[in-house]
């Protein structure tokens, strides 16, 4: 109670991101099937990097490699000069990496506020014994997490839902709560997996603006189907097709790249229709296989 509501800025005055995520020469094979072949990708500090490609191009696999859910058979992942390949997902959060899941994956048995407080796990200080004996500092620590969580919810216009259970909320609100849960950890790298799926035109527009605001304090890696969103918010884009990297560049360069057009058109996949289907019909659709149940070593 004693703390000012916006203490986050005072804790770390300079919040401009400095760390770079570098993935190089990533190979992934599931059984005999090669999912990724020699893919490299660099997320520059403070930039929004898009990862696109037709269905089955390996976007989600690449994304899961970046956060440790899938281990590549070869290749290097460096973050702040540290090799990430051998890490388990639980350790990423300590390194300042947060991600959202394709399905919202909220904790159904907790209120929205508690959901977001779990996201602040890495900022918790009170340990087991202070909790066991209910030392007042443990309460104070939890109060701090609660304020952080409320701040994160406020940034996403979701404070009104703080005491509700996620199951009762519309899908777009659930997505915002899931995003708040990732943001409350104050990551330096945010991995967003299809954040626009299930959102309306307006909501998608607001999401785009939010991502531009976020990149002043973190780098963002974005996997997304909606081309217009990707083109609007990304600084750089990597295009995958059948597990191979076919183009890297600014949105303008990507739009002009003949290889990209061919990959999309030659695939018999109508990008717009594909995107429309994703945003329209499936409001509570479960995540396609590969996100939740990704094989973990």
């Amino acid at each position: 109670m004693a703390e000012p509501p916006h203490d986050r800025t005072t804790e770390r005055p300079d919040r401009s991101p400095t760390a770079r995520l570098e993935m190089s020469g990533i190979h992934v094979a599931f059984g005999g099937v090669t999912a990724l072949e020699d893919v490299s990708l660099t997320v520059e500090p403070g930039q929004v990097h898009g990862l696109i490609g037709p269905n089955g191009a390996g976007k989600t696999t690449m994304f899961n490699v970046a956060c440790g859910l899938v281990r590549p058979s070869s290749g290097r992942i460096t973050w702040r000069g540290q090799e990430l390949r051998r890490l388990r997902p639980a350790q990423l959060s300590k390194l300042g990496i947060a991600r959202t899941l394709q399905g919202v994956a909220l904790f159904p048995g907790m209120t929205v506020l508690e959901n977001v407080m779990v996201g602040a796990h890495r900022h918790a200080k009170a340990g087991f014994f202070s909790a066991l004996f209910a030392v007042p500092t443990a309460d104070k620590d939890d109060e701090r997490l609660r304020r952080r969580a409320l701040d994160a919810l406020a940034e996403l216009d979701a404070v009104a839902y703080a005491e509700r259970y996620p199951g009762s909320l519309p899908y777009p609100v659930q997505k915002r709560v899931a995003l708040a849960r990732a943001l409350v950890a104050e990551p330096e790298l945010l991995l967003l997996d299809e954040p626009a799926s299930g959102l309306s035109e307006d909501e998608m527009h607001e999401l785009g603006e939010l991502i531009r605001v976020l990149c002043s304090r973190m780098s963002v890696l974005l996997v997304e189907h909606h081309m217009d969103l990707v083109m609007r918010v990304c600084d750089r884009i990597t295009v995958l097709d059948s597990g191979k990297q076919i183009a890297v560049g600014t949105p303008e360069e990507i739009r002009a790249d003949p290889a990209v057009t061919e990959a999309y058109l030659g695939d018999d996949v109508d990008v717009e229709a594909d995107a429309a289907e994703l945003s329209g019909g499936r409001h509570t659709a479960p995540a396609p296989a590969g996100t939740e149940e990704a094989p973990r070593g």
Binding site: C67, L101, T111, E114, A131, A134, P136, A162, S168, P170
Partner: protein, 392 residues
Amino acid sequence: MSETQTPTGEPGAASDDAPSTATAAANASPARATGRRSFLPRLTLLRHLLILVVGAALAVLLLESTELNTNIKLGNVAYLAVAAGGLTLLTGLSGQISLGHGALMAVGAYTTALMLDVERGDEPPSLFLVFLAAIAATTVVGALVGVAAARLHGPYLAGATLALAVGIPGLALYFSDTLGGEQGITVRPPERPEWFDNAVEQLSGASGRGLNDKWVAYIAVACLLVTYFFLANLMRSRMGRTWRAVRDQEVAAELAGISLGSWRVLAFVVSAAAAGLAGAVLAIVVQLAAPGSFLPVLSLSLLTAVVIGGLGSLTGALLGSALLVFLPPWLIDIGRDVFDMEEAQASQASFVVYGLLLVVTMLFAPAGLVGTVRLALLRRRAARATAAAGGR
């Protein structure tokens, strides 16, 4: 982002404000966004100490206003509830099942019995030390089991812990020289302090031979209160929230930086410590540690108590344990008096009725006693909120 910021106002949405799964229905969410009015202090320590004092006063009232026979039964309720409290934390919060808590109780009971063996002539160690030793021994066993358990899920975990329930009491037969075999070890009753006699004399005027049983009942209830104080602290803290996250969504919990394995083991250790104390109290109450007290059916009864009461709720665990102790004799009485059955017949029938009651409860109130009440309250609150929103 484009929706209205007030929660939806349609009447149909009222019931959606409750958690969607029965599992989570019984454990309250301690984190409140707005300072809701409550007569309890917000600070966990004050809040739980207050509840502890009120609980102690109620316990004294209950023990002094009932007969010796009921006193003994309340002692039984107390040790079952200590174990059930640990189990409700394990199963209700961290989402792991254990059919082996009876075996963990056996570890606590045998530790106690070895330290308080009647055949040993020397001065017995203080009860406090004995309890600590029992807790420590069980914690070690619990940690070992927990490390294995953290790798297992659902039916596999149930199977592995059930094996524990079957196996551990068998050790008493194998090492019959030290552990007393089938007969077990007789436990020396604890020394009754003089002030206790005087206090009871003042309160209810009881005196004489039954006082020792009364003293033991008081010890059991005190252990119950202290255990629940600690368990409630954990459940209300970040620990409880983290366990629930592990239970609800593994991948999301892991991405939040929670190491699933260590948190599962921690839950197992805490719950084993409670089971160890429960076993120690059992040994004091029945003054015996024998394999017959720790049949697999004890483990199953504990789980039943926890589920009937409402998973994840300490109140539920206490209610469930009380049902375990008081329901069967009550059913026998009804069978004998109302239906004119013979004692043995009534006793057999009571099992059938008991089982049926469990099945019916699970069918119509899968969230358990506490969970069902809490869901109803949440729905009423939500309905009132929508009514208020509509009236503006």
